[in-house]
Symmetry: D2
Subunit: 326 residues, 4 copies
Amino acid sequence: VVRRLAQADSALAHVFAFHHLQIATVLLWGSAAQQSLLARTVSEGWFWGNALNPLDARLVATRVADGWRLNGAKSYASGSVGADRLVVSATVPKADGTAARLVGHLDAKAAGLHVREDWESFGQRQTDSGTVSFDGVFLADADVFQGPDDVPTPRATLRTLVSQLTMANLYLGIALGAFEAARGYTLERSRPWVGSDAKRAVDEPYIQHRYGELWLLVRAAELAADAAAPRLQAALDAGEELTAGQRGEVAIVVSEAKVLGHRAAVEVSSQLFELTGAGATSGRLGLDRFWRNARVHTLHDPVDLKLRDIGRFRLEGRLPEPGSYS
Amino acid sequence: VVRRLAQADSALAHVFAFHHLQIATVLLWGSAAQQSLLARTVSEGWFWGNALNPLDARLVATRVADGWRLNGAKSYASGSVGADRLVVSATVPKADGTAARLVGHLDAKAAGLHVREDWESFGQRQTDSGTVSFDGVFLADADVFQGPDDVPTPRATLRTLVSQLTMANLYLGIALGAFEAARGYTLERSRPWVGSDAKRAVDEPYIQHRYGELWLLVRAAELAADAAAPRLQAALDAGEELTAGQRGEVAIVVSEAKVLGHRAAVEVSSQLFELTGAGATSGRLGLDRFWRNARVHTLHDPVDLKLRDIGRFRLEGRLPEPGSYS
Amino acid sequence: VVRRLAQADSALAHVFAFHHLQIATVLLWGSAAQQSLLARTVSEGWFWGNALNPLDARLVATRVADGWRLNGAKSYASGSVGADRLVVSATVPKADGTAARLVGHLDAKAAGLHVREDWESFGQRQTDSGTVSFDGVFLADADVFQGPDDVPTPRATLRTLVSQLTMANLYLGIALGAFEAARGYTLERSRPWVGSDAKRAVDEPYIQHRYGELWLLVRAAELAADAAAPRLQAALDAGEELTAGQRGEVAIVVSEAKVLGHRAAVEVSSQLFELTGAGATSGRLGLDRFWRNARVHTLHDPVDLKLRDIGRFRLEGRLPEPGSYS
Amino acid sequence: VVRRLAQADSALAHVFAFHHLQIATVLLWGSAAQQSLLARTVSEGWFWGNALNPLDARLVATRVADGWRLNGAKSYASGSVGADRLVVSATVPKADGTAARLVGHLDAKAAGLHVREDWESFGQRQTDSGTVSFDGVFLADADVFQGPDDVPTPRATLRTLVSQLTMANLYLGIALGAFEAARGYTLERSRPWVGSDAKRAVDEPYIQHRYGELWLLVRAAELAADAAAPRLQAALDAGEELTAGQRGEVAIVVSEAKVLGHRAAVEVSSQLFELTGAGATSGRLGLDRFWRNARVHTLHDPVDLKLRDIGRFRLEGRLPEPGSYS
């Protein structure tokens, strides 16, 4: 679904996907009592956003009676604008100078919580990924998913893989959308090349060849995403029986899909213009949106570290350490 | 099976695969009566070879009573050395100056038929792909699979796709074998790089990254080959119901697997040396055999035309014309 | 100069370069009498634009006493907005149904001539490349550079090579500008990668390696552009002695520079984001402008035909036919 | 000269180049008295080889009266078979457990010195790069170029750059030779492709395009090698005035040439077969020798570290540390 949505509108797909990712968070991290959030999400029509950016350490949690007091801010909070409910992470400073992490959920209208509509990247423009500021916001113990001393089980760490595979499908959707847009332009508008014998643009040998090349990028990403999905589902189905080794192998398969999706999205969206010509750069058509969206979204975490992780696994069977990105 | 064989020994896999391809020829092109060849293959332990190279037009068939008289030669006759039975194609000149094709099968010890062990390419050295010469060899009408006036049904043209997917798996097997050989060398023999901080070769960031990159080439080829197989099987199962459109779509999926397998084989077998270093070029190890085998075998038909066919299909839904290579 | 300008501002460089290209047109195509335009350009401070797009055949010239009457329009007229003087080409229909080309120059404020500020591509936004419409504009015979029956000498066809090498330098300038912008961001703002050992982004092995890779793209383009310039100058210096063969060899050297510049511009401007991370996609920084400008400008004529021309020359010594793009 | 030799025969070029590299060693490392070796080289017609492999630490030097006693072996000793004179390096163990390096020259027929003709890599087969064993060989103090306590001046470290640029030209020569061999085959032997409209192989659009692509690899390497040569010559001319900074910048320019030469050699020699077809893999033609030679020789030191060095320099102006490979 994310893939098909992204094909049409990658920002909409982004928001939709992150809503479902927060629901997956309830499933994976919520206690038995917290599972009731799922029913409330349906009955009250909640839209979920997040304020989880692990690279932004400004949001600090301080222990108070029955809960925590949150002060600071989180950037890149996808889906926070207009959300009803937010999954939030905060830093808990420890006595030894290191820091632990606290994750919980909050009403988006909680006292002291403000969502700023300040997203201004050149892509994924309608993702509502603003900055959320916290001014003494109270997080009750009952609303905590992971406390600073909780050690996540392999199953709990699947949340990262749900997030990563969602992104792989989103990238793939962008690639598919760009491919189709280029194709439509070539079929309907492209003129034959000056200096070539082909009578129609679609008969030009180099245009046919480049479509073949770009399609193989899309196809490889599609096959890898489709291969990763049942592997992740099986891991989810295994529940708390899931071992670290099984989890790690799924992480690798998801990484394969993510790297191939990344490449397909960036390359198809940039190279499509060789196939369409200068007329396709008209601002009215907006065909640059695929590259802008792909480029902004594929920077979530470095593709080179994914390639490294895949290489390490293939060389020595070494598994990536579960974290915010792997 | 071909893929696994090719991983260990791509020449053996080649001969094995072409034996089975000839058996597929009996299945797809043989009349009801000719299907009995299958039982005889089992009972007499026949090994099948071919003399089918469509680019070599030297072998000419002349009509005689009850059959054809064959004179000339066929090069690149894979599996012909040591074969019991050969599938053979010959040119039939027509009155209007064009030529038609005749395909049938022959006893490898037929009078006038000589198999020369003259294969001398720098790769696939044990494939027994010699030249077969014909000096007035008689081919009985009962042993003809396709006469000069036969128009093949879509089902009959699946033979090319069986051949192409076999090659895709063979290339993939070479890529897998090269990958494993490189990995084994890196783990057991490679020394850390001078001028780098990594204490072991496997800890070198660039080595890990390159293994990740090469693996993705292998992985994409593997996924595409695995996706093509059930599509081809379904087409075979459809029998004479198979339409030209259905056949064409399978041809495209097989082409995807073949191009990705081609790339994986050539790239992994050449780039692996960046990962192992100069010691791996020792003639005793023979690690150049992967590149030599990949390079020789991937030239069966031009990869650029496959990319063109894929592009044409994606652009306009145009299907490749059934022939010896598509 | 164009290269350095483009590094800072590729649209400014574009306008500046096209002004000089029109002056080169006077030098190469102008009669002895028309060379006085050069002195007038200096004394009256003329800024030159063009309405020459060879793909737009809408502008038609009809013979009248002492000159031609122009009706129609030309799109992609770089530098036309705000120009004092325009180089203009028009189609002259011939009796046999084919068409010839007429080139001359006009006062930008000539009666019936209107420059529309309608450029709306997603890149090269300040290039003033609008559409020019002609409503019965009179072009005097004295202002014609090339009449419909003139056959250009090899020297005259150097204008295309001046244009192509200008573009090669423009692309290179975009690549250099993108490289520097990425470098500045990495040095000043990038944070070390989560999951990597490097303490600073600039110490990350993969970041160093990618900068090395991107630099080689820039470097190859730079060397090729610097090698082409003296070759083109020598051809210009040869004057009417220049042979078609000498001209063709310069065309190839210029094509090498153009293809390498094209690649450097598109790849550096897109891949730089792998090196900087998500923060660099902020709209405030505008780092997407390099890709947008590179992408729009590199579509001037198909890169695949340049590669074909280089291949043809290397294979058989075949020279590209002089035309609007080669 | 090396480049032209390598085009015809890369093993001959290798031996020739390494002879001259040893002569450069006398120039750069020899004392005033040792410069007389140059005159003796001419008068006695000496051919120089080496036993310098810095990765092989088996050869150990022990201090004796008036010189050193050498025991052990050196592998990859290019040009040692048939040499008159050898440049030799040995390890000198130090009291603190570390090791220093000693470099000097020896008569190839010195007592206890044995050159084994045991080179058995799959490429560069005639390079006479055997193993040299030392059984108590005496090296007089007068024949020492660099003692274990000598700190090389920037000028002395130019020897590595002479060696690296020699290799860059050698790789380029292989690429040029492979390109020409492919071209000759395509022109004289290639048949048009089945399934394509082109009547001659040289008219096939994809063949023309690939020749264009491969040529650009060769061209970039050629331009970079030609740009590096005068930079290195200027550094040599600067003599002991040469600063570490100037030396480092030359190292980077040489690295650019080496990486581009490496790529051209490996890619052209492997991809040429897409242009020629299966017939070109005949063992009689030996067209695989280009890849085998390129592959073996380009593993001298890791290309990834050169890319890293170029990236570091471009990012922060950091210069590579002078050593055996940079």
